[in-house]
Symmetry: C2
Subunit: 447 residues, 2 copies
């Protein structure tokens, strides 16, 4: 995994904040506090009262600063397909609405779809995402131009007439080449592998992907137990659950990030914990597509590292991880019919610390040595009234604030959102491009 130190502004900068929400496991907050940044990393965090002498630039952050949000499962170029195939269940949605259009995608389409996605995510305070799609060089180019941190995991899928259509061997080779070429680019990009799922790839392909991920010491992300029907299909073919199959063929020997992980048995959860498989929990996508409600509390109690994911904007339908940050604990409490199963501090940790751990990046907490991925949130809003104690700030962040209160965002110390406007992406041009390209895709499939 590359360090995040290249191409970052030099010179020490101090964020002088009304409150510093560190994002650590204890929910520590400094009111008021400072975050000092140098060379793309955080060098000091603490209360204003005992801040070290400072000679560089100071940026006033009258609200609160917090770690950037981490989106652990996205297909963000699918901004091109936002709203397509509304109301279809996952299997039919993929086969009848999504894959036919994706067969017509060009690298330029993916570049603009990803660029619009980066603009949307950065504006919402999402500083890192994990992206599984096609035409991955275009994804890399888009995130580097946008100044966003990204784990790019090229999609590997073997369905005739979809994607680049080269078969899984060629796609796996290409992913290896992309790793050689782009891993570490601009201090922002990491390259992993994204074999689609156990129900869309032969065992041979899954095995080969696991082997390559181990060779490259990189993260392999895979859709896992997303729907009940997927689970039934695997049980029928292999007489075992998806996690058990992946373990059997050596995939879990790699650094694995399992996306969705909805339909898990107790034994599956124990296996994920034992093999240190992280989970990208995608509550909104799972609910919207009727896939189900994942066993979040059980996963956390078993010690599994859990991050949050939006999934693609065609199944969510936005990239605003703030919604997942709230929906994850809401669904967990509704599922358990118990308000005490998860609190605001734990929920916040999923979107920050948990996500960073799941992607193997050195962010997710405001602490010395970590990457300077920082978000400044306005608190001069009714949603943040009243504040009588630190705990109120955490409650308001999770239960009543929203992404539109994000004022400023830094990725690796470089400011990419200022006063609520994304300064690193021309969102208007990206929206124009996506609108025109979406119309072309619709025409290509005769809609």
């Amino acid at each position: 995994m590359p360090a995040g130190d290249e191409g970052c502004p030099t010179g020490r900068t101090r964020l002088a904040a009304g409150a510093v929400v560190t994002g650590d496991a204890a929910g520590s907050i400094w009111r008021p506090g400072v975050v000092d940044i140098d060379g793309g990393r955080i060098v000091h965090v603490g209360p204003s009262s005992s801040a070290p002498e400072h000679h560089g630039r100071t940026v006033a952050c009258p609200g609160l600063v917090m770690p950037g949000l981490v989106n652990t499962h996205g297909h963000s170029p699918m901004t091109l397909l936002r709203g397509v195939g509304e109301g279809l269940p996952l299997d039919r949605w993929l086969r009848h609405a999504i894959w036919p259009r994706e067969a017509h995608l060009t690298p330029e389409d993916v570049f603009w779809g990803m660029t619009l996605g980066c603009g949307e995510m950065l504006r919402c305070g999402v500083t890192t995402s994990c992206e599984t799609y096609f035409h991955d060089t275009a994804v890399v180019d888009a995130v580097v131009e946008a100044g966003m941190r990204c784990l790019v995991t090229p999609g590997i899928l073997d369905i005739p007439g979809t994607g680049p259509g080269r078969g899984w061997r060629a796609m796996l080779d290409a992913a290896g080449e992309l790793h050689a070429e782009a891993d570490g680019r601009a201090g922002l990009v990491s390259v992993g592998l994204g074999p689609h799922a156990a129900y869309t790839l032969p065992v041979e392909a899954l095995t080969a992907a696991g082997r390559l991920a181990r060779e490259l010491d990189t993260i392999l992300t895979i859709h896992l137990a997303e729907t009940a029907s997927e689970d039934h299909q695997l049980q029928a073919e292999h007489s075992m659950t998806v996690p058990a199959l992946l373990d059997e063929i050596g995939v879990l020997d790699a650094r694995v990030l399992a996306a969705h992980a909805v339909w898990l048995t107790d034994a599956d959860i124990a296996l994920l914990a034992e093999r240190r498989v992280a989970v990208a929990h995608c509550p909104q996508s799972n609910a919207k597509l009727g896939s189900g409600i994942a066993r979040l509390v059980d996963l956390l109690q078993a010690g599994v590292t859990v991050g949050l994911g939006t999934d693609g904007p065609a199944s969510n339908n936005d990239l605003d991880l703030w919604e997942e940050l709230r929906l994850a604990p809401l669904l967990a409490r509704a599922r358990a019919a118990d308000a005490s199963v998860i609190d605001a501090v734990s929920a916040f940790g999923l979107a920050t610390r948990g996500g960073a751990a799941a992607l193997g990046i050195d962010a997710g907490v405001l602490a010395p040595g970590r990457l300077a991925d920082v978000v400044h949130v306005r608190t001069d809003d009714p949603r943040f009234v009243p504040v009588l104690a630190d705990a109120d700030l955490m409650a308001h962040l999770v239960w009543s604030s929203a992404s539109h209160l994000v004022a400023d965002v830094w990725v690796g110390g470089r400011q990419v959102v200022a006063a609520g406007v994304c300064t690193s992406v021309d969102t208007v041009e990206a929206a124009r491009q996506v609108q025109a390209r979406a119309a072309r895709l619709a025409a290509a499939v005769g809609r």
Copy 2:
């Protein structure tokens, strides 16, 4: 129910919109379209191409216009208690955190809490709410000053040391007096009754409330089957479910709005449909407090009128009904593990048409003769890209847009939000008041 025609601007105004989302059951949209307003009511809606000649003022609405959202269950003065008692289940949360503080509330506290709540709701495009609380004259004053439409249903509760503490008879009498005094005020206020719940009031009180509601021909709203324990308690005492008990004692002969309605049997649902009881579905509050997931799809299929409610900002923790508009179909789909059980048009109808029907107000649809409660939403945002067909607009409204895109709001033809700022409420002063008063309440209970 009063007409909404008093105190409204005169002279015909045309909203010339990029799109008019009428909110009717068919999901009709005019792109581009016009909405003509006169005397607080809508007088014409249709496509721009066949709009009648117009000589009054024209307001350009380059995004889309839609009916104002209707919040069918709120305790909005509880902005004063936002964040209090985090993580407690409903019963302990009420008894240990909320009710002790409420015993110290003054009418001025309630005025400022409600004022902040009005500012928050109007800013989110919520043009009407149903409010059950104490010190109801202060609630009326606040909504009239804010220019918001409101069904005020004085809370009737009989717990020593809580609320005004006068016992249910005196509270019921006071509610009747408020009806005589304030029903119809400013063309904005209606007055109903708000007996708290079957588990907090004796049968005699429930019966008397039902009788008074029938005499006044007004709406009676009651917390119904919110938690499993409430249901168990009633079953033990009366050997029947809450709806069956309320029917038995004549309460369902009134115009009843049942709040929450989570724990219902099939027979309960059939009874609610038969007795034309409307439901205020509060998915976020129910999830956050671990109360459960209501049977939304079953209620709709039985023909029950369903609106959405935020519940109080101490159990949600905001008054942004846009979140309920999205969460209701998400939870319904997750519960059914089926994406086809509810679509975007139906979900949108809950927050608008369904809510207006539940409160008995002549709004919720943009159509001639209806009250001119209209919201203009910006669509120049990545969340609204791409739009290839009318259906995309509905999908984006429900699945990817959010309240911060609300640009302008009219209530009864009077503009109360302009360019994203609530012009009828001094939100800064209200926030200052709520902060100070919340601190006083915390001190009063020794926290």
